[in-house]
Each structure stands twice: as structure tokens, then as C-alpha cells.
């Protein structure tokens, strides 16, 4: 017989009569009430269940982990999550739990959980999609080619071999590189030309999707339809989903390739266990500025790709255009190069691709970096620390300006935690400069304005 502690009798009776399995946690996340339906579902009596601490720790009992409320619930918001039905480590079946923050009286609060069991999907009769639709999948293989990563540059020469190695195994692979360096294209290439290419691709954007979507996608990974799952920025996953992902990675029976893409291995709050589990092979993609010798070939690759989409390729590329492109630093890497080449080719409209077809800001940047006269040979070199501080100061001021003074947003742009940014602002004595800048002189924080 279910019993309750500190739950008013009328409410307790109401919950007891409910068909849905219901439980209530106290503020310390210990079970204080379960109804009969929950006892039946958990196959355990309320005497055993009440008092159980619900936590997401890896070594906690499966039931305890399944019932652990997400952080937003403890902050007073409603949440719905999908968890593997304990004691299983992977679904189906799953428990879809709706967590509702409760307040019984002024001194007591808690969390109400309502469980809905989601069983394995019924096998549908072998209905297949028309051939014309499935042919769309066939074209994906041709879209991702190794030519984007072939390089003569020492910084990048090993990458094609690493990608080819990854195609021949299905162990978890981490791809690291700057924004726009081609991480997702490399991941797709590994999948579509690798051992898992027969099945579908699933990308989980951990930094963009709400937790319930990620839970759903992690559940889908077990459906058997997918050959590769790519986690974008796994460091952005909530802690409980990192634990869930670790469970899935530890599942030995399923033939599924896990890939992860991130800008740096230590970024975000990825647990060490997850980081090492996803990094059986690590591929570092070098930024474009370190492989400028590859520019002519990469330009050709992007032009050929654009031509397939109906863009008229230029008759020739002027020597001066290539010189400007070589002098540019390409902070947006391959993504920026792709955009610049396509826009310039569209402007050239089949004629020669000249420097005036390149974006104006690019020409300005190149002329500015090229024009300053070199310092005299006997001029003293500034100390390295001072140089680095100047660069850091400029980056912080620019980020603060972009974020309208919002330090959290500025810290995100710079890829550091907010406390670190605040420490650096204090160390560099930027508070007063920033205030002056905002009020008096907007140009002072433009790139290179002060330094």
C-alpha cells in the first residue's frame, strides 16, 4: 500500500487514484510520496522507495538517476525529460517524466513527477519511401569529398590520412578546429565514405537544441536507422545528458559511430569521462591561414561546387586577386572562403575574377596590414608580454562593445568563462577605459583603434 509523508490527505488520495504513475520529491530530492501506479511501475513498494535520493551521479542507482529532476525544475520551472526506463541502460522503453515544481506551504516545497511510459515503436509493415526520395540520400556521398582537406602544408598534410583512417573504423572520433574550418564537413565525409554509410546520419546540436529535443535524438540513436551520430559541441550538453551519452557510448552491442565536433577540447563543461570516451581518435583541422599554399586548389574546389549549382565560373583568376587572398588572414576559414569565392564569381559573371570582385572589407584589411612601413632595424622591440596584453586588451574591448557591455555575452564571444573575463578586465584596468569608450569615443575600440 502506498503511503505518503507530509502530503496533505486529500491530495494524497487524489494522487493515489490517478492512473498515471506519480511521485513527489522533497527539496533535498528525496522521494516523499509515490502512488500505487508508480509502485507497480517501479515494481517496488513505497516503503523501499520513500527516502530514495534522486541524483544524476554516475554511480547512483538507475531508478535514482531516472527520477532526478533537471536543474531548471529546481529553479522553479516546469520540465519534461525522457529517460531510459530503469534498470535498463538504454531505451526503449523510456520514461517521459513531467516535472512540476510544487509548494505545499510557505516552508515546504518539492517536485511532482508524472511518468508516461514510452514503449518501443511498433514495427510498421515494410513501407518504404519512393525511389526518387531515397535517391536524394545517394547524392550526399558525392557532396562531401576529401579534396577539401588535401594539403601540402605541414600543418594540415596529415589530416587526409587521419580522415581516411576514421573511415575504416567506427570508434568515436573527435574533430577539433576553429569556426568554419570544416569540422562538420569532415564528420559527414567520414560517415558517407566510411563503414557506417549504409545507414542514416544524425546530428545533435547540443548548443542550439532544448534538452527534451536532445533526449529524443539520443533515444533515436538506438532505433537502428542511424549509422552515425555527430554531437556538435558536446561540452554544451547538460550534465544529466552527458551521463546518458556515456551510457550509450558504453553500450557494446550496437554498431553505431559516434562523432563529435568542437572548437577546442577543453571548451564548455564536458566531463573528463565523456571527453575521453569521444576521443578515441582526434582529428585537428588547421586554420586556413596556416595552409595558404592550398588556396588555389581550394578556390577551384569551391568554384566547381558552385558551378554544379548553376553559378557561371570565372574565365580566369587574376594574379593580383590571388595575392590579395594570400595576404588575407581568413578568420572565418573555409566557410568564409566559400562565401567570398561564390560572391566574387557571381559578380565576375563568367569574366576574369579581379580584386574588385572581392569584398571591400577584405581589400581594406589587406591594404592596411600591408601598408605600414616596417620599423627601423635599430628600433627597440616591445616586450612580448606588453604585445600580448595589447592584443588581449583590444579583443576584450571589441567583445564588450559588440555585446553592448554585457560581460556574459562578451565572455561567450571570447570563449572564456565570465569570471575569467572579469579578472582580466580588472588586471588590464579596462573598466575606466570601457566607460570612457562608451560615452565619449566610439571609434576608440574599433579593431586596432587604440593599440
Amino acid at each position: 500500500m502506498a503511503r505518503s509523508r507530509s502530503v496533505s490527505d486529500p491530495l494524497s488520495e487524489l494522487f493515489q487514484r490517478a492512473r498515471e504513475p506519480i511521485f513527489i520529491l522533497n527539496p533535498e530530492r528525496r522521494i516523499r510520496f509515490v502512488n500505487a501506479a508508480f509502485e507497480q511501475l517501479a515494481r517496488s513498494s513505497s516503503d523501499n522507495l520513500i527516502g530514495l535520493q534522486c541524483t544524476s551521479r554516475t554511480n547512483a542507482e538507475p531508478l535514482s538517476r531516472a527520477l532526478c529532476p533537471p536543474a531548471e525544475v529546481l529553479q522553479g520551472n516546469e520540465a519534461r525529460v525522457r529517460r531510459t526506463a530503469p534498470p535498463n541502460r538504454v531505451g526503449p522503453p523510456w520514461w517521459e517524466i513531467t516535472f512540476l515544481p510544487l509548494t505545499f506551504d510557505a516552508d515546504s516545497s518539492g517536485v511532482l513527477g508524472i511518468v508516461r511510459v514510452i514503449a518501443a515503436a511498433q514495427k510498421k509493415p515494410s513501407r518504404s519511401l519512393p525511389e526518387s526520395l531515397l535517391s536524394l540520400r545517394g547524392s550526399l556521398r558525392d557532396r562531401f569529398a576529401l579534396s577539401l582537406f588535401e594539403s601540402d602544408s605541414p600543418a594540415h598534410a596529415h589530416v587526409p590520412a587521419q580522415i581516411q583512417l576514421a573511415m575504416h573504423h567506427d570508434s568515436p572520433t573527435m574533430i577539433v578546429g576553429e569556426d568554419g574550418a570544416g569540422k562538420r564537413a569532415a564528420a559527414r565525409l567520414i560517415h558517407h565514405h566510411g563503414v557506417t554509410s549504409e545507414r542514416a546520419w544524425l546530428e545533435i546540436d547540443a548548443s542550439a537544441l532544448p534538452a527534451w529535443c536532445i533526449e529524443h535524438q539520443l533515444g533515436l540513436s538506438a532505433s537502428g536507422h542511424f549509422g552515425a551520430v555527430c554531437i556538435r559541441e558536446p561540452g554544451a550538453l547538460p550534465k544529466d545528458l552527458q551521463v546518458r551519452l556515456l551510457d550509450l557510448l558504453a553500450e557494446p552491442t550496437r554498431r553505431l559511430r559516434w562523432l563529435a565536433t568542437c572548437t577546442s577540447v577543453g571548451r564548455g563543461s564536458m566531463s573528463e569521462q565523456l571527453s575521453s570516451a569521444l576521443s578515441v581518435q582526434v582529428i585537428h583541422l588547421a586554420p586556413l591561414r596556416t595552409r595558404l599554399d592550398d588556396l588555389p586548389r581550394l578556390v577551384q574546389v569551391f568554384l566547381e561546387r558552385a558551378a554544379k549549382q548553376g553559378l557561371k565560373p570565372p574565365s580566369a583568376i587574376a594574379e593580383e586577386t590571388m595575392r590579395v587572398m594570400r595576404d588575407y588572414q581568413w578568420p572565418g576559414n573555409l566557410r568564409e572562403l566559400d562565401t567570398v569565392v561564390c560572391v566574387a564569381a557571381a559578380d565576375a559573371n563568367g569574366g576574369q575574377l579581379n580584386p574588385e570582385h572581392l569584398p571591400a572589407n577584405m581589400l581594406t584589411e589587406v591594404s592596411q596590414t600591408a601598408s605600414p612601413a616596417p620599423p627601423p632595424r635599430d628600433a627597440p622591440m616591445p616586450p612580448l608580454d606588453q604585445l600580448l596584453e595589447d592584443v588581449e586588451r583590444r579583443a576584450i574591448l571589441l567583445a564588450l562593445r559588440k555585446a553592448n557591455g554585457n560581460k556574459t555575452e562578451a565572455a561567450q564571444m571570447l570563449g572564456v568563462w565570465r569570471p575569467r573575463l572579469i579578472r582580466r578586465i580588472e588586471a588590464l584596468k579596462l573598466e575606466s577605459t570601457e566607460t570612457t569608450t562608451d560615452q565619449d569615443d566610439d571609434d576608440a575600440v574599433s579593431p586596432g583603434g587604440r593599440v
Binding site: 550526399l140 542514416a200 536507422h225 578568420p331 579593431p447
Partner: protein, 146 residues
Amino acid sequence: MQFPQVVVFESDGKLARHLAESASSNRWLMREARQTDACLNWVRRRGPVVLVLKVGRNLQRELEMLDAVRSSLPDVPVIAVTDSDDPLLESLMYDLGATFVLLPPLRRSQLAELVERVMQSAIARLKQRTFLLELGPRSKMTDEPD
């Protein structure tokens, strides 16, 4: 940065009505497209974009649309909403590059929440990229070997 815009590709206007309140409160431009070319033109505009694609009435046209967006604009997030719970179709949409596939039963709050989160992320990424582009070329001295 240009105004964020939500482009809805559907034939009956229902999803656009569901999203109208959210778009208005967040000051996003809401575009409803029923023709493929019009939709691609909206999506190609500069600024943060989220494409909401209703799938089910004309599968061939809708999936070709998804394929076209993802091949030419791989950074544009696409949320597919379908009436079908066919796992094969769902996996095909993910394979073609859908960011998320919403299956029935669909609640209005789910769609709005999802679009809001994805749009916030698209805005943040675009800001980060613009920031890098402005900062990048002048940081040459820290990268260049002697």
C-alpha cells in the same frame, strides 16, 4: 546585423499562425513561403535565419527543398514538422540535414520553444562569426612565425 527572420515553408499557413506570437514578441521577421524559389530567396538573405519546413503534403518537393537548403546553406538551421511518424522518413530528413524533426503529437509550445532556442543559437553564432571577422586579420602578429 539584419533582423532575424523565421521562414515558414508550408501550404496552409497553420505553422506560421502558431509562431506569429513568438515572432512578434521577439521582433523577428516572419516570412511565409509557398513556392520553392521564394523560400530559397528568403533563406539566402543575410542575417540569422531559421527555416521551418512542413513535410507531408508533397514529399518530393519538400525534401528537395530541404536538400537544396542544406547543400547551399549548410549553416541555416532547418526544423521539419511532419504529420507522419514513419521512422524511415524521419531518418531521411535527418540524413538530409534537418536540425530537428518534430513528430506528432505536436504542441504549439514545443514548436515555439524549439524555434526560439534555435534562433537564439543562430544569432549567437552569427555574432561570434562577425566578431571573429572583425578581430581576425589584425591578430596576424600573434599567429605568424618569424
